[in-house]
């Protein structure tokens, strides 16, 4: 219950940034698979680079703990990704 407001705030800025990067558009998503517009990758990789540096910096200072997302489960992660990619290229989201 307590964390509903922070979740809304995080989501708000997340949605804001997705919209500003154009990731709400069908063409933006599909064109990354056609190598015509690499916006999705530019966005994701910038987020990853900044996030990695920031998270590991704070971790080394002892301020955050890694929460871990998914355990490595090669078949599941890979097959899930393969199915996800078909849907992503088809729907464009």
């Amino acid at each position: 219950m307590v964390h509903y407001i922070p979740a809304l705030i995080v989501g708000f800025f997340f949605g804001w940034l997705l919209q500003k990067a154009g990731l709400t558009k069908y063409s933006k998503i599909v064109n990354v698979f056609r190598f015509r517009d690499m916006g999705v990758l530019k966005f994701m990789m910038s987020a990853l680079v900044v996030g990695m540096v920031g998270v590991y910096f704070l971790k080394d200072l002892g301020l955050v703990k890694l929460i871990g997302t998914q355990p490595t489960y090669i078949v599941g992660n890979l097959v899930g990704g393969l199915i996800f990619g078909v849907g992503m290229a088809g729907a464009g989201f």
């Binding site: 964390h3 509903y4 922070p6 809304l8 995080v10 989501g11 708000f12 800025f13 997340f14 949605g15 804001w16 940034l17 997705l18 919209q19 500003k20 154009g22 709400t24 558009k25 069908y26 063409s27 599909v30 064109n31 698979f33 056609r34 530019k42 966005f43 994701m44 990789m45 910038s46 987020a47 990853l48 680079v49 900044v50 996030g51 990695m52 920031g54 998270v55 704070l58 301020l63 929460i67 871990g68 997302t69 998914q70 355990p71 490595t72 090669i74 599941g76 992660n77 890979l78 097959v79 899930g80 990704g81 393969l82 996800f84 990619g85 849907g87 992503m88 290229a89 729907a91 464009g92």
Partner: protein, 176 residues
């Protein structure tokens, strides 16, 4: 003011928006012990609906342990995403009601609305199913996992492009 003008721009550089997203993820982890997630929220909502309609059908391992029904962190993030994207598009003056959402779609697959909606519906089922198997979507697994350097995130991203590229090739054929 330049800042206000920037705030009202219709689109930002993907590098800037991406870097800000990375910052947002770091702040989220610091202050809330959560990271970005999205697709799980649909499963929590789906679970709640199934539980209300037929409790026996909801009585399985997935909904009991993996994605519990109810209003979760992801559901609230999803609501926030919608609100944020709405405000952003209103400020950028790109907000518009549309049935077929994209010019590129119309050029390649014609103006028929049902085709677009069918592709959206089927594509979304595959998206959600794939995300369910892998344990997350582009935000919940690829970004949140990737910035903690979990191998699952990179396997997922590899899979996503390995199938997305041929799917786009098949759909666009000569126009690829």
């Amino acid at each position: 003011m330049r800042f206000l003008k920037w705030l009202r721009a219709s689109e930002w550089s993907p590098y800037v928006a991406g870097a800000l997203l990375g910052l947002l993820a770091v702040l989220a982890l610091l202050f809330t012990d959560h990271l970005l997630s999205g697709s799980g929220g649909f499963e929590n909502i789906g679970g709640s609906i199934v539980k209300a309609v037929s409790p026996a059908a909801a009585d399985n391992v997935y909904w009991k342990f993996v994605q519990r029904p109810g209003i979760s962190w992801s559901v609230m993030v999803l609501l926030g995403v919608m609100a944020g994207a709405l405000v952003s598009s209103l400020l950028g003056r790109t907000f518009k009601w549309r049935l077929v959402s994209d010019d590129q779609w119309k050029q390649n697959f014609g103006p028929a609305i049902w085709k677009r909606w069918l592709a959206l519906f089927l594509g979304a089922i595959l998206l959600e199913y794939g995300a369910g198997i892998a344990g997350g979507c582009t935000s919940g697994l690829a970004i949140s996992g990737g910035l903690q350097l979990t191998p699952s995130a990179f396997l997922f991203m590899g899979g996503m492009f390995a199938s997305g590229i041929p799917t786009a090739m098949i759909l666009y054929r000569k126009r690829y």
